[in-house]
Amino acid sequence: MLRWKYSRPLLGLLIALLALAPMLGGNPLSRPGLQQTMAVAFLWGGLALTYDLLFGFTGLLSFGHSLYFATGVYVTCILINHHVVSWWLAGLISIAVSAFLALLVGAASLRTSGITFAMVTLAFGEAGHVILERNFFNLTGGENGIALNADRIPSFWISVANTKFIYWSALAALILTYAIIWWVTESSAGRVFAALRDNELRVQVLGLNTQRFKLLAFVISAALAALLGDVMLLAAGSAAPRFADAGVTISLLLMVVLGGAVTRWGAVIGGIFYSIATTRMQDLTQQEAFKTIPKWIGGPISEPAFVLGLLFIFVVMFAPGGLSGAYYRLRLRAITKKSR
């Protein structure tokens, strides 16, 4: 067994600590600033995990995943702002809409595979982005997006003093996503997903409908992305076209590859790390010491994409498997050494 025997109790302890920290004073997490940063980081961790279900577990390189995340954000925001339904029903409807959209787009784009699939999903995702930016029927607010009407959601999610509730919501959404993806990937359907990734022809020969299983993975990950989008709407307070940008999907890809695909926790750590790194790196470049670096080198470094992009190239070239892959390799080496 590659799993460390204390990993599960320690994970439970960590989650308990993270959940309780905002209530106990005197630690960094009792400040709303860090709560907000961590809430967003948890959501990115969850999103990276939904992407891992596609890319890592099923082998589908989709470049249009942001579409389903943005559907969650936008549909909920529009339904709440226009007084259509109450906030919780709006959230549920957005998940259903996202799943249905994934069903349609998936049915068309899964006719292709591999690299073509990547291009096609990219095109569909970008079309969604364009539609959101154009403000059709005056619903999406164009390039500025739409602010969430705070009167229509429970008051405990409003105001800076209540950031801890957003933090808990994000943590809960991450745990729920993790649990569902754990259940899916360990189920018999999850075995088929892995088989599709490793040898699609063989699955076909076994008489299974490969398209249907791929579509299932596509729809599940879209629905979960919409769920995380609902919470992101609370954390961001508005729906903006940047959530639908192809850059979002590329970030998710980076998170999964840096953290390591197919291990679940790798994607989550990758997402949390990436999210914190992009926010903190900007603070770092504001410091005095940084200004002494000449501009031709300081300019690129101040862009998070530079460092993360280089790190990403390094991992793809020399350390496939990312962080969690490296961990399991070390573990394997330790175990084989012991048994010898």
Binding site: F124, E126, A127, L254, G299, I313, M317
Partner: protein, 293 residues
């Protein structure tokens, strides 16, 4: 009628820009199976080098000087593409997904470096005065720069065709697109064909970058964004590995997009995606693509 001609020719001009990007993408994919996300950064590198040369020559630039800047931009992008291929792509031989991932990394790094150096604001690209005059065709007054896009795209198409048809390396490239293992087995060095294709694709993208920055009134690290995505769409609709297919699809998409946008702003992008979906449902291999064994 004259609006009809104006929109049609503008559409063809836009299609010409798409073709410049898609031709390289299509050949690179057809020959090596590499989904090249770095193609957008080839375009940006070409645009910036072209801008650098052109702005050194002052703002009252003439057509030959502009063409010179455009060719230097193209060459720089071609060399950059060659560098990326030699440094990164060849080391990930046959690992297609990883190759695509590495090019994603390259596009991020190049975007960040250019953004860090020059900022993300548009910089005026010096163009000959002649570009902003109008030509009259069939009663329609058409901006002259459209003619430059179309002429460049046609020249590159013909050049591409001649190279593929009449040279030895072109023959190897065509055979490689058809069946690479067979070419390898015959003892022919396909690696050189790979490098050639990367250089040519980078060159076309660099030239395209200069023209894109004329079309969008300036150069910035962000100009490549939508063009790369349209390049992908063109490649899928035209058929992977088919340069004439890319040309046909690029023209079609440029014209359709302009007409749809004329009747309702923003409708163009939507129609193009619908078209993509229809093509995928009816002809998944694209217009002129061959079914892969």
């Amino acid at each position: 009628m004259d609006t009809f001609i104006l929109i049609g020719i503008t559409g063809i001009g836009l299609g010409a820009l798409y073709f410049l990007i898609a031709s390289g993408l299509s050949l690179i994919y057809g020959l090596m199976g590499v989904l090249n996300f770095a193609h957008g950064s080839f375009l940006t590198v070409g645009a910036f080098v072209g801008y650098w040369i052109a702005s050194k020559m002052g703002f009252d630039i003439t057509l030959p000087k502009f063409i010179f800047a455009m060719i230097v931009g193209g060459l720089a992008a071609g060399l950059f593409a060659l560098l990326i291929e030699q440094l990164l792509i060849t080391r990930l031989y046959e690992r297609h997904i990883d190759q695509a991932l590495v090019t994603v990394g390259v596009s991020l790094v190049v975007g960040a470096v250019l953004g860090g150096w020059f900022g993300n604001d548009l910089r005026m690209f010096p163009t000959p005065v002649w570009f902003s005059t109008a030509i009259t065709i069939g009663g329609a007054r058409i901006p002259a720069d459209r003619a430059v896009y179309i002429a460049t795209a046609v020249l590159l198409l013909v050049g591409n065709w001649a190279l593929l048809k009449y040279t030895r390396i072109g023959l190897i490239i065509r055979a490689g697109v058809e069946n690479r293992n067979m070419v390898n087995a015959l003892g022919i060095n396909v690696q050189r064909a790979f490098s050639t294709v990367f250089f040519l694709g980078g060159f076309a993208a660099g030239v395209g970058g200069v023209l894109v920055s004329v079309y969008s009134n300036g150069v910035s690290p962000l100009i490549a964004g939508t063009y790369l995505i349209y390049g992908f769409i063109v490649v899928v609709i035209g058929g992977m590995g088919s340069v004439p297919g890319s040309f046909l699809a690029a023209m079609m998409i440029g014209v359709i997009r302009q007409f749809a946008n004329y009747y309702a702003t923003g409708l163009g992008d939507f129609v193009v995606v619908i078209l993509l979906a229809v093509v995928l449902l009816i002809r998944p291999q694209g217009l002129l693509g061959k079914v892969r064994a």
